[in-house]
């Protein structure tokens, strides 16, 4: 493990107690509501906040362990941080911002600037060297902040809501680039977000944090089919399908087609379908839903009055139906049935 952390710290009304691991090359998303403690976790990992109990180790080196009085301050940890508001230094040029980490670690000016230029090229921001942060657009500032975090070649990359400050159009583009850079990053990356789509598209694994505790840890599909809390079910437990849009039809990766209600987007996209929007039928339904397909039940998760049904077939997703409906259909693993979803229930976002 590159990153192994048990973080216990109290901040105001928040009592944080989480375990967090990340393998080399792995991108972990911390997903949760505001105030859940996600940013506090990042600050502890970065060394901006000391933990009260537990321990944090990066590449086997213990950097924070109150029991044995170890605390490596932020400036001597190998953590690159991209802050939510980017926090570029306003009085420095873009080049000085990106070379700051190298200069602070004693690299001479000429080679620091050369490396910074290389990083700016890599994030697609060459030509901005002499600009001031205030002159940058949101997307440009994001790229510069990423270059600055990566330029000192950290072992761990921490990203706090990396896309939250961007408008919808820029977001799609920057998310695509960010995914590329994360894929090329050798160390571990921890990403804080409250957007399931960001978590789904950028992370290998999702850790759901609620009220200072990890409530669930797994891949996106695992979490969607077995959400462990009401919050997880409501906000994270959505079906996300990758595919592409063309002329009002969403082609799911793997071949199936879904008719959607929007026809103004084209290209790589993600379809978001709430499990409650997927209806199940014993026989092929007729009438309005044009999106119907044969599916097999591969997993059933009883959640009181509601039942989550994981389906396999041309489109793999999770449906949520009432216990009554499940009984009427005699839902069980292996059952074959019809699934349907209305075009208006599919939200499409460019990927």
């Amino acid at each position: 493990m590159t990153l192994r952390a048990h973080i216990v710290v109290a901040r105001g009304s928040l009592n944080l107690d989480v375990w967090l691991n990340a393998a080399p090359g792995e991108v972990v998303a911390l997903l949760g509501p505001n105030g859940a403690g996600k940013t506090t976790i990042l600050r502890c990992l970065a060394g901006l906040l000391a933990i009260e109990r537990g321990s944090i180790a990066i590449f086997g080196d213990v950097v924070d362990d109150p029991a044995s009085r170890v605390f490596v301050p932020s400036e001597r940890r190998s953590c690159g941080v991209m802050f939510q508001q980017y926090l570029l230094f306003p009085h420095m040029s873009v080049l000085e911002n990106v070379s700051f980490g190298l200069r602070a670690r004693g690299v001479d000016k000429a080679s620091a600037h050369q490396q910074a230029r290389d990083w700016l090229t890599r994030v697609g921001s060459d030509g901005l060297e002499s600009s001031r942060p205030a002159q940058l657009s949101g997307g440009q500032a994001q790229r510069v902040a990423l270059a600055r975090a990566l330029a000192s070649e950290p072992q761990v990359l921490l990203l706090d809501e990396p896309l939250a400050a961007l408008d919808a159009t820029t977001r799609v583009e920057v998310r695509r680039e960010l995914r590329k850079h994360l894929a090329g990053f050798d160390g571990s990356a921890v990403l804080v977000t409250h957007d399931p789509v960001d978590a789904y598209t950028l992370a290998d694994r999702v850790v759901i944090v609620e009220n200072g505790h990890v409530v669930q840890d797994g891949t996106f599909v695992e979490i969607t089919s077995h959400p462990r809390s009401a919050y997880v079910a409501e906000l994270v437990g959505v079906n996300l399908l990758t595919g592409s849009m063309m002329g009002g039809v969403f082609a799911v990766d793997g071949g199936a087609m879904l008719v959607v209600a929007t026809d103004d987007v084209d290209g790589a996209a993600i379809a978001v379908i709430r499990p409650q929007a997927v209806s199940l039928h014993a026989n092929r339904p007729d009438g309005s839903p044009r999106n119907t397909w044969r599916a097999a039940v591969i997993d059933v998760d009883h959640r009181g009055e509601r039942v989550r049904v994981r389906l396999e077939g041309p489109i793999q997703l999770t449906a949520e139906i009432t216990a009554g409906a499940a009984a009427a259909l005699s839902i069980k693993v292996g059952l074959e049935l019809w699934a349907a979803v209305k075009a208006t229930e599919i939200a499409v976002t460019l990927n």
Binding site: S74, E75, Q85, P90, H91
Partner: protein, 272 residues
């Protein structure tokens, strides 16, 4: 006939309030007019060339610059401490360090005398161990001026450090910057205009210092008699000289305030 009123988005001030404001302006303008009406314009240059006057001016400039330098040297770390560190009794410390802004300067001078005078709390040891006797020396002028001037530096700079985003310091640390490197490269540039404003304000305060200086340092020509002191003393025996010196101080202070206005009240330089 129709009268067209000018399109105004600002509402006019009620008449009584406007009248009071005008009286206030007159209240500040009249004393200046009084000074100027009595000024011996033709003799001004020769008066300014008098050795006593030049001595006082020179002493004032040198002492006030020293006081400004000391205010900045000690005031900057103190402002940073007050702005960025939480500790028990912080508000008491802040009140203590800015007390001399509201204290009558004479009281400050008396207090300095009891602390640093020959038989004062610390002064007796300075005298006994180091043979240092502070009162009635030029150094005492600097001490008195620093005492009343430093709060202006502290207050200005502390406000700026509070306004500067501490997140930038966090960002610098995650990039490997030591606290000194971060302070030098990130915090200081962010508060540059406040540093200038604080230095100018405390210099102006030191330059005009009277009460604490005359109490703690006395009024010895060439040694402790600064410009304000010589204005006061000249009133008795040479009114013309007093007027010329007073006008000189008015001109200097006015110039400083006008020069400062854009940088300070106008929000300082662009933060881009």
């Amino acid at each position: 006939m129709t009268t067209r009123t000018a399109r105004r988005t600002e509402r006019g001030l009620p008449l009584p309030a406007l009248a009071l404001a005008v009286i206030a302006i007159a209240f500040f303008a009249l004393p200046l007019a009084g000074l100027m009406s009595r000024a011996p314009w033709s003799d001004a240059v020769s008066i300014l060339r008098r050795p006593r006057v030049r001595q006082a001016l020179q002493l004032s400039i040198i002492c006030s610059l020293w006081a400004t330098a000391l205010s900045a040297l000690f005031g900057l770390p103190l402002a940073w401490l007050l702005a960025r560190r939480r500790f028990i009794g912080r508000s008491v410390v802040r009140a203590l360090c800015t007390l001399s802004m509201v204290l009558p300067p004479v009281v400050g001078g008396v207090a300095l005398l009891f602390a640093l005078g020959r038989r004062g709390l610390v002064g007796q040891w300075l005298d006994r161990w180091f043979d240092i006797r502070l009162p009635f020396t030029s150094a005492a002028v600097v001490v008195a001026q620093t005492f009343v001037a430093m709060p202006f530096f502290i207050v200005t700079v502390e406000a700026a450090i509070r306004q500067a985003d501490p997140g930038h310091d966090d960002a610098a640390r995650t990039l490997g910057a030591s606290s000194w490197y971060s302070f030098r490269r990130v915090t200081l540039p962010a508060i540059r205009s406040a540093l200038v404003a604080g230095a100018v304000l405390s210099w102006a305060r030191a330059f005009g210092e009277f009460g604490a200086t005359i109490t703690f340092a006395g009024s010895f020509p060439g040694r402790t008699q600064t410009l304000p002191l010589s204005v006061y003393l000249a009133l008795d025996n040479d009114q013309l000289q007093a007027i010329v010196l007073a006008l000189l101080m008015v001109a200097v202070s006015f110039a400083v305030l006008v020069a400062l206005r854009d940088r300070w009240l106008g929000g300082g330089e662009l933060t881009t």
